[in-house]
Each structure stands twice: as structure tokens, then as C-alpha cells.
């Protein structure tokens, strides 16, 4: 499979003695909606940071194995190259907004990648997340839910094929979380984007992700369709993962 993301025996540890990711091998198909879950400290965020080459290029440690994105090894190109392919929304939207207006925030990535028609792209991205009236607002004055949408819009404007979100609903209320997942569903189904969500909330994962990866102590425990993965109830309970309940 040339298209998509492939992890081939990938291991990584910030120090020699402890591996955050231990011999992970899996593939993410283009156009899929993938969920990654595991308990705290299992290596979920480390895995996300590997997708666009932040590990090993910017965060250094003991790295082995190969990660390819559409056939290109993440070790061979800088992070700025993968920024055009993979959009990343980190855990805390409060920490991700540093520009002085929403428009500037979204334009930041566009300027770096030197994309044309920046104004149209900003407008479209804001429309996709339903925030078109917030273009001139100071990001710091927004609610957490609104900030999260702006972070997503900043990624959407770059029109990347892959969108990675690290615990996107951790700081949102229930309705905010439902709305965010509705947007992600739309991006996946209508626009063909590959969505990779690192998530604690297994209820949302089971309702939206078609494919789920369970990670435990850096090892890939399950990697299958969401239905099949969550059928392993006993094993999941044992490692502390909540068995999902249907969302109404």
C-alpha cells in the first residue's frame, strides 16, 4: 500500500531505558476514520507526534523502524514538508492559539506553505466549522469550544489530506463534542479527508471511527474495525478502557 500511513516496527523512547512506543506496526488507509485509544501514558500522543515527523526531527530520542506517509519516509523530509499533508490539532486549544486575530491565526499556516487565494481559503475554513462571523475576533476571547473549532479551521485551510486530532473533546461540553464530531464526519464523508483521532472517550470513537487502534504501554494491542476491537470486552476492561455505550 503506497497511499496512506504505514508504521513498520516503529519504536521510540525519550530515554534508552523506557520505550514510549514499542515495535508498532499498522497501516492507516487514505480516506478512513481511525480512532486511537489507550489509558493515560500509553503512548497515544507520542504516536500522533510521529505522524508528521515531529518525532524524530524535533523531539529527539531512541527511534527505530520506518514510518511512511504516501510512500515517503518521515525521516527523509522535514516537518514543514509533512505539514502540507498532515494537519495536526493538539490537545489543549488554549495553548495553540498565539496570533492576535482569528484570520491571522488561520493565515499563519497558509503563509508558511505559500498557498494562493489565502482569503478564500480562510473564509471556506471558517464556514466549514461554522465560525465565519468570528474572523476579526481575538482568539483569546473565545470559549474553549470555539477555540477548538478555530484550531481545526487553521488545519482545514491548509487542505491537508490527513487530519490528526489529539483528544479533541477533552475540554468540550457534550454538545460541543457532538458538534465537533459532526464536522469531522462531514470532512471524512463529503471531502474524503483521512481523520485520525486520539481519544479517551470510547463512546464517541465507537460512534464515528470505522477503524480503531488500542495502544497499551506503547504496544499495539488491537488494530481492527471498531466493532471487532470493542468486542474484546474482557481484555479492554482489564487494561482500563471503558466499553463504549451508544450515543443518543
Amino acid at each position: 500500500m503506497k497511499n496512506g500511513i504505514i508504521f513498520d516496527h516503529v519504536s521510540f523512547g525519550y530515554s534508552k531505558n523506557k520505550l514510549q512506543i514499542d515495535a508498532a506496526s499498522f497501516a492507516i488507509e487514505k480516506g478512513s476514520f481511525v480512532g486511537v485509544t489507550g489509558v493515560n501514558g500509553s503512548g497515544k500522543t507520542t504516536l500522533a507526534l510521529m505522524l508528521n515527523g515531529i518525532i524524530p526531527h524535533e523531539l529527539h530520542g531512541q527511534f527505530s523502524g520506518t514510518i511512511t506517509v504516501d510512500g515517503i519516509d518521515t525521516k527523509t523530509k522535514p516537518v514543514s514538508y509533512f505539514a502540507q499533508k498532515i494537519g495536526m490539532v493538539f490537545q489543549n486549544p488554549d495553548f495553540m492559539l498565539f496570533n492576535l486575530s482569528v484570520t491571522e491565526e488561520i493565515a499563519f499556516g497558509l503563509k508558511n506553505i505559500k498557498l494562493h487565494n489565502a482569503e478564500d481559503k480562510i473564509k471556506n475554513a471558517l464556514q466549514m466549522v461554522g465560525m465565519e462571523d468570528f474572523a476579526n475576533r481575538d482568539p483569546q476571547t473565545l470559549s474553549l469550544g470555539e477555540k477548538q473549532k478555530i484550531c481545526l479551521a487553521a488545519v482545514l485551510a491548509l487542505d491537508t489530506e490527513y487530519i490528526v486530532l489529539d483528544e479533541p473533546v477533552a475540554m468540550l461540553d457534550y454538545q460541543g463534542a457532538v458538534n465537533l464530531y459532526r464536522i469531522l464526519d462531514e470532512l471524512n464523508k463529503k471531502h474524503g479527508k483521512t481523520i485520525i483521532v486520539i481519544e479517551h472517550d470510547t463512546d464517541f470513537l465507537s460512534a464515528h471511527a470505522k477503524h480503531t487502534i488500542i495502544i497499551n504501554r506503547g504496544k499495539i494491542l488491537f488494530n481492527d474495525t471498531t466493532k471487532k476491537v470493542f468486542a474484546h470486552k474482557t481484555e479492554l476492561r482489564k487494561i482500563g478502557i471503558k466499553i463504549p455505550q451508544p450515543i443518543r
Binding site: 524535533e58 516537518v79 505539514a83 489543549n92 496570533n99 492576535l100 483569546q140
Partner: protein, 188 residues
């Protein structure tokens, strides 16, 4: 248009402060002080907070003048201390007035002729300063709720240590976000 208005405001601030430096009349300084207070009142700025921080400094200046220049007559020492204190207070209030009527965004836009790397540093600094102050306030509330006295010098660590942790966390996320959005430093 907006940029030129900000430039005019900035030049006005600089000229105003230069004039304040050269004034030696306590009556004129008092009038300027009242005008600034009125301007700040209309801008709904946090006057009380600023005055609480700056007035003790002004009082300290007057006291030092009274203590250390004993060879001069009392009224002269007092007047000299008053003028020095008034100048410092007025300059501080004039900067607050300027920032109350000018957004940080407009101010930074004024320097867009600078290299991109420096603009980015300016922008992040402008974002981080108020953020750090509000984080410090939040930490203070949390520590107070844990019955830790935060107003004494010895218990300052209870605020500074978690504050440093939060600031480093923020800085790390910002740097990762910048990289993930394709930023390439000009110096690389």
C-alpha cells in the same frame, strides 16, 4: 488608515512623555494626572490595579528624597520628590491609556516591516505576557483554596513553580503547533 492612526498614537505617546520629562510645575503635572485618570475612566481600564502598583513607588520616592537630601529645605525636598513621583506615575498611566485605546494587534502590525522571525517572536511575546499574568492569577486562586498564603515573599514559590511549569508547557505546545503548520525559520 488604521496603521497610520496607530502610528500617530505612538508618536503622541512618545512626545507626551518627552514633554512630561521636561515639566517642573507640580500644578501642570497634577492637571495631566487628572486628565489621564479621566481618559482611563472612559476607556474602562483597570485604573485601581495600576494605581495600587505605582502609587507606593511614588510614595517611596518622596520618602527617599526627604531622608537623603537633608541639606536642602524640607519644602524643596518634598516638592522635588513629588515632581519625580508624579512624572513616573503620569508616564505609567500614559502607557496604560495608550494601550487602552490601541489594540495589541494594531501595535504589532505597525512593525510588520521587520523580518518574519522577529515578527513571530513579537507576536508570541505579546500573547504570552497577558496569558502568564492571567495564569498567575488562576494559580494564586488555586493555592489560596488550598490555604497557602500567597502574599508573603516566602510562599512565592507556590506560585512561581506551577507558573513556570505552565509556561513551559504552553511554550512547547506553541513551538510544536508552529512546526506542524509548516513554519520554517529564516535562520535555518
Amino acid at each position: 488608515m488604521k496603521k497610520s492612526i496607530t502610528a500617530v498614537k505612538l508618536v503622541t505617546l512618545l512626545v507626551f512623555n518627552w514633554i512630561v520629562f521636561s515639566i517642573r510645575n507640580p500644578l501642570i503635572l497634577s492637571i495631566l494626572f487628572i486628565i489621564l485618570l479621566l481618559l482611563l475612566y472612559f476607556a474602562k481600564a483597570q485604573i485601581k490595579k495600576r494605581l495600587l502598583a505605582i502609587i507606593p513607588i511614588g510614595i517611596a520616592i518622596i520618602i527617599f528624597q526627604l531622608i537623603f537630601y537633608i541639606w536642602a529645605p524640607f519644602t524643596e525636598r518634598f516638592l522635588f520628590g513629588f515632581i519625580a513621583a508624579a512624572k513616573i506615575i503620569i508616564i505609567s498611566l500614559s502607557v496604560l491609556t495608550f494601550l487602552s485605546y490601541t489594540s495589541l494587534f494594531a501595535l504589532i502590525k505597525l512593525f510588520d516591516f521587520l523580518p518574519e522571525d522577529i515578527m513571530l517572536i513579537l507576536m508570541i511575546t505579546a500573547y504570552l505576557i497577558p496569558t502568564i499574568l492571567s495564569e498567575a492569577e488562576k494559580i494564586q486562586i488555586v493555592q489560596k483554596s488550598r490555604n497557602i498564603k500567597t502574599n508573603s515573599f516566602s510562599s512565592l514559590a507556590a506560585i512561581i513553580i506551577p507558573l513556570l511549569h505552565r509556561v513551559f508547557q504552553r511554550a512547547e505546545t506553541i513551538s510544536l503547533t508552529i512546526l506542524a503548520r509548516g513554519y520554517k525559520s529564516e535562520t535555518n
